[in-house]
Amino acid sequence: MILAVCGKGGVGKTTISAVAAAALRRRAGVRVLVVDGDPAGGLGMALSVEAKKTLNDVRVEVIDEVKAGERSKRGLAQAMDYRLAEAIIENGNLAFLSIGRPDDVGCYCRVNSFLKMAIESLAGGFDMTVIDAEAGIEQVNRDVMATVDYILLVSDTSAKGVRVAETIRDVAKRMVGGDGAGLVINRVRDEGEVESIRRSTSLDVIGWIPEDDSIRRYDENMTSFFDLPECPARISIENALKATGLL
């Protein structure tokens, strides 16, 4: 099962990805792959995991393999698997991989294409894969979402946030089958805001998360979200995952 957390920048995707990863990790016998798909690399910080090698580094190393004379698809796939194994940081039943960013100036399409290949190669070995996607629709456009079973759309209570979530859903619709997308509304101050959004959007609202000082404190102190105790935000995120059968 592959879950991607998508939405406009600044709506809390990384926090929700981190809390979701921590919740999944607590389940005995479940192997979780967590991919920080945002070149800014915030998820690693939220989980206090430091990637020594990123997916972009792996991509560069695989290109070096081609330059060194490796030409067969299978040989390159072997090299990619080896380098990915080096890049993954393991913590119990959880493995973490960061996308990183290219050194050269330019678009991220190559590393996003590589992300898709890496997810296809790795995800089969895990019960759950959580991808903290980069803001906006670039990765949705780049077919990364073709590997995804469910898109957890995140928005704050702003109309702009909800519109971006709708756009992502529309672009991803042809790639993610069935009811493979749901909206979580973040930083809600009163329930009336949720009702108002429900009336204004065609998205399936699967949950909402209240403003919670615990989250702000963990962010400010850079404490690992693995250690986040039960708090209203954590309970709400877990409930949203349960509502979709992901937890």
Binding site: E65, E70, A85
Partner: protein, 240 residues
């Protein structure tokens, strides 16, 4: 004469030296039930033994011979899985396939695929073909179930013998020390150079020796030179 005569001879010399020192144990393929075949992801937490971690020495080499091969022989220098005191162990895996390889390019690809396709339950392998690196994890469950390098050798030999021109195969594992693994490195890198030269000939069809970085390999390996001449003739015959 064969493409890998020098490398096969080097492996045989290594084995002879270790044998005379009483350091070699030999098993026969097929002498115990086959270990279940299944693609496995072994996370660090589930790992009992790690062979050839990138921080330790590792080596993986594949050669073939048209001369006699000790079919089904699995040689082990160093401790087997159940005897390993440490979690991380240096590791070398040398595979020698025997047969009549009329189309060496296709045969190489088929033999390599057979090795890649060797998957065992509770055993995860990652290889870096261009660097002859191999990194394996054996799960706690597999170790408690009695997994041995004999099982790995058995599976490799069985899979290799499904490739049509392969009539026999043998495998050598080294787990004794970094130094012992490194003793096989010249043979492994020599084999890699022969394969790279072969791939270049078949895939690039460029036979200009003056500009070729593998000229020294062709000069040393007669069979490679013959292949080069045959392919160059074919190219010339094919016309513009």
């Amino acid at each position: 004469m064969g493409l890998f005569d020098e490398q096969v001879a080097a492996v045989e010399r290594f084995l002879a030296e270790e044998r005379s020192a009483g350091n070699v144990r030999e098993f026969r393929a097929g002498s115990r039930p086959a270990w279940p075949s299944e693609q496995s992801l072994v996370l660090e937490d589930d790992t009992a033994i790690e062979l050839g971690n990138p921080r330790i020495a590792s080596l993986s080499s594949l050669v073939w011979s048209e001369g006699p091969v000790e079919d089904g022989r699995i040689s082990l220098v160093g401790p087997d899985v159940s005897e390993m005191d440490e979690r991380g162990v240096p590791f070398a895996q040398v595979v020698i396939a025997g047969g009549k390889f009329t189309d060496v390019y296709e045969s190489y690809r088929d033999v390599r695929e057979a090795i890649y396709d060797t998957v065992l339950e509770g055993f995860m392998v990652r290889t870096m073909p261009s660097r002859q690196s191999i990194w394996c994890r054996i799960s706690r469950e597999a170790v408690s179930g009695g997994f041995s390098l004999e099982d790995l050798g058995d599976a490799l030999i069985w899979n290799l013998k499904t490739v049509e021109p392969v009539t026999g195969a043998e495998v050598l594992f080294v787990t004794s020390s970094v130094a012992d693994v490194e003793r096989l490195a010249p043979a492994a890198s020599g084999a890699r150079r022969v394969i790279e030269a072969l791939m270049k000939m078949y895939e690039e069809k460029n036979f200009d020796c003056e500009t070729c970085e593998y000229r020294d390999v062709c000069d040393e390996v007669m069979d490679l030179k013959k292949i080069r001449e045959r392919l160059a003739d074919q190219k010339a015959g094919a016309g513009p």
